[in-house]
């Protein structure tokens, strides 16, 4: 059952949740409100086997709503402080969705600096856990504003998360433990499963054409056979999302909180 009244954020939450389908008993980490709601929706619906935390230090079997908790009392099933997260990361049973500042054609990502490394134009957080995450377990991306500033033409300015660029590897390094899931953007869903791990558009959000995505991406894109529209949230999914986000934080994540179904001119504006 589809519902005509849903926001772009809700469409992206549902698309994000699909990233974790079939991942198995892995720690699902969605960083940021939309990825976290995506992971929570996945666990609450199609993938209850996922491991999840309260975003602090405890494992939960029931995803915790985002924002102030009111009367909600979390029920814990285990312990997962940072030190154990690190163990879990290097062991590989994790699938994170992160929002890097830059992503390149090789699926390399950047959270460190924009510009020259010694004299950066913009210093961000630092590489955080991206080098270790990306070389050890599956990672997906969340991109709230799909543009050439994010999907850069050349290589990202500082390779924080590793990717498929052959020059960065040698034959005695293990590159087989890394894997890239999808990139959920405000225009489409992409993966890096084209020839030689090239980027492809997997589905287009309503009102978006392949050409529009390509115009806003710094490198050439392929597309899957039978490219279709991103699945609309069902009424059931929207009800679960509402329960997971009782304060409507999802409405504040994308500029202007656009509707899920847009005309092409609305997408361009």
């Amino acid at each position: 059952m589809s519902n005509n009244s849903f926001s772009l954020a809700e469409l992206m939450i549902v698309a994000a949740s699909e990233a974790w389908r079939g991942s198995g008993e892995v720690l699902a980490s969605g960083l940021g409100i939309i990825p976290r709601l995506g992971a929570s929706l996945a666990k609450a619906t199609h993938s209850p086997e996922l491991l999840m935390t309260d975003s602090e230090a405890f494992l939960v079997e029931e995803p915790i709503p985002v924002g102030p908790r009111g009367d909600y009392v979390p029920k814990y099933s285990g312990y997962m402080p940072f030190e154990r997260v690190f163990d879990c990361v290097w062991h590989g049973r994790r699938h994170a969705m992160v929002g890097p500042t830059q992503i390149d054609r090789w699926a390399q990502s950047n959270l460190s600096v924009v510009g020259d490394y010694k004299n950066p134009k913009v210093a961000m957080l630092g590489v955080r856990g991206l080098p270790g995450n990306s070389i050890n377990h599956r990672n997906s991306f969340f991109v709230p504003h799909h543009s050439k500033r994010v999907f850069v033409e050349g290589e990202v300015d500082m390779v924080s998360g590793v990717g498929f660029k052959p020059e960065r590897w040698n034959s005695s390094m293990r590159s087989d433990l890394m894997s890239i899931g999808v990139a959920v953007t405000d225009l489409c869903v992409m993966d890096f499963d084209g020839p030689d791990h090239s980027a492809r558009v997997v589905s287009l959000h309503p009102g978006v054409s392949f050409e529009m995505v390509q115009e806003n991406t710094g490198f050439p894109l392929g597309q899957v056979v039978g490219l279709s529209e991103t699945s609309h949230p069902t009424a059931e999914q929207l009800a679960v999302i509402d329960k997971l986000d009782p304060h409507g934080l999802r409405h504040k994540q994308l500029k202007g909180n656009p509707p899920g179904i847009r005309k092409p001119e609305e997408v361009r504006s």
């Binding site: 030190e83 600096v113 134009k121 210093a123 630092g126 590793v162 390094m173």
Partner: protein
């Protein structure tokens, strides 16, 4: 045995050019009373090793940092640390930027007294290319895998803040996450711990004793510093002070921002500092963050 000292006692034992590890994580359980004492001192040319929060920005703003060993610097709800950015973007900060897990690995290597520990993290990334001192190593076993040899992060001093301690150097961390303070303690030549409360001797039941995460033989000195993590959080006792951190952060946009922060919050003793932040009662009741 009595390891009780004061913030100034700790800072007097430090020297220019030292490598100083700071416990906690981002804006969480940072030894801020000790950091403020350090900010009042003439110490300089420090190498700071931290999962960075506002203490890194403050030390940068005060011109104390020659080199920063880090995986991130952030104040969580205020993601970008303004004074760290300023120095970094001015090209005036020598950095060793590491993956969070590699950082832990470096502390572990130091604590285990080995020159390095092997890791996959960092390979194929900018961590390897931008840190020319990092080397790789080939596994001597039949797999022959090439790995990063994460060098030991040997610390001259570690500064930590915990919930409770005693004069012997026993410590308890009762918050939900103990972070990596135990790794800092073991990686350091000397370790100074400030605590919300210092007893003569901890006499605990078994369940409470499990909150002890490193042994007292690693602890050089103990300082009583009530609310000493402010403006960072110290679960389960008090949360971070976002009003204070926002004022600190907003100030960075102004020419005299650090100067005025310094005058208001650094150039006074800890009792006065707490008073200027609304008093003990207000700080003690700052709500714990919800994640």
């Amino acid at each position: 045995m009595n390891k009780l000292t004061t913030t100034s006692g700790v800072v007097e034992s430090l020297r220019d050019g030292m490598t100083i590890g700071i416990g906690g994580w981002g804006p969480r359980r940072k030894p801020m009373a000790l950091v403020r004492e350090l900010l009042r001192s003439d110490l300089k040319d420090l190498t700071v090793v931290a999962y960075g929060g506002p203490e890194v920005g403050m030390l940068c703003a005060a011109g104390k940092v020659r080199k920063l060993v880090f995986g991130f610097v952030t104040m969580d709800p205020i993601p970008l640390e303004p004074y760290f950015r300023k120095l970094r973007q001015a090209g005036q900060l020598d950095v060793m930027e590491l993956d969070e897990g590699l950082f832990q690995w470096g502390l572990k290597a130091a604590g285990l007294r080995v020159p390095f520990l092997p890791a996959r993290a960092g390979l194929a990334s900018g961590v390897l290319t931008h840190n020319p001192e990092l080397r790789t190593i080939t596994s001597p076993y039949k797999d022959g895998e090439e790995l990063l040899a994460m060098p030991a992060l040997n610390l001259d001093v570690a500064l930590l803040h915990v919930n409770r301690a005693d004069r012997l150097g026993n410590t308890l961390i009762t918050g939900n996450d103990v972070y990596f303070d135990h790794c800092f303690a073991r990686a350091a030549e000397k370790c100074y711990v400030s605590a919300e409360k210092v007893d003569d001797r901890l006499d605990l039941d078994a369940a409470t004793a499990r909150f002890n995460t490193f042994e007292r033989s690693l602890v050089t000195g103990v300082v009583e510093a009530p609310l000493g993590a402010h403006p960072t959080s110290c679960g389960p006792e008090y949360g971070w002070d976002m009003k204070h951190l926002k004022e600190y952060s907003d100030g960075a946009a102004e020419e005299s921002g650090w100067q005025s922060y310094r005058e208001t919050y650094i150039q006074c003793d800890e009792a006065e500092y707490r008073q200027r932040n609304g008093g003990d009662e207000r700080i003690a009741s700052l709500p714990l963050p919800i994640f």
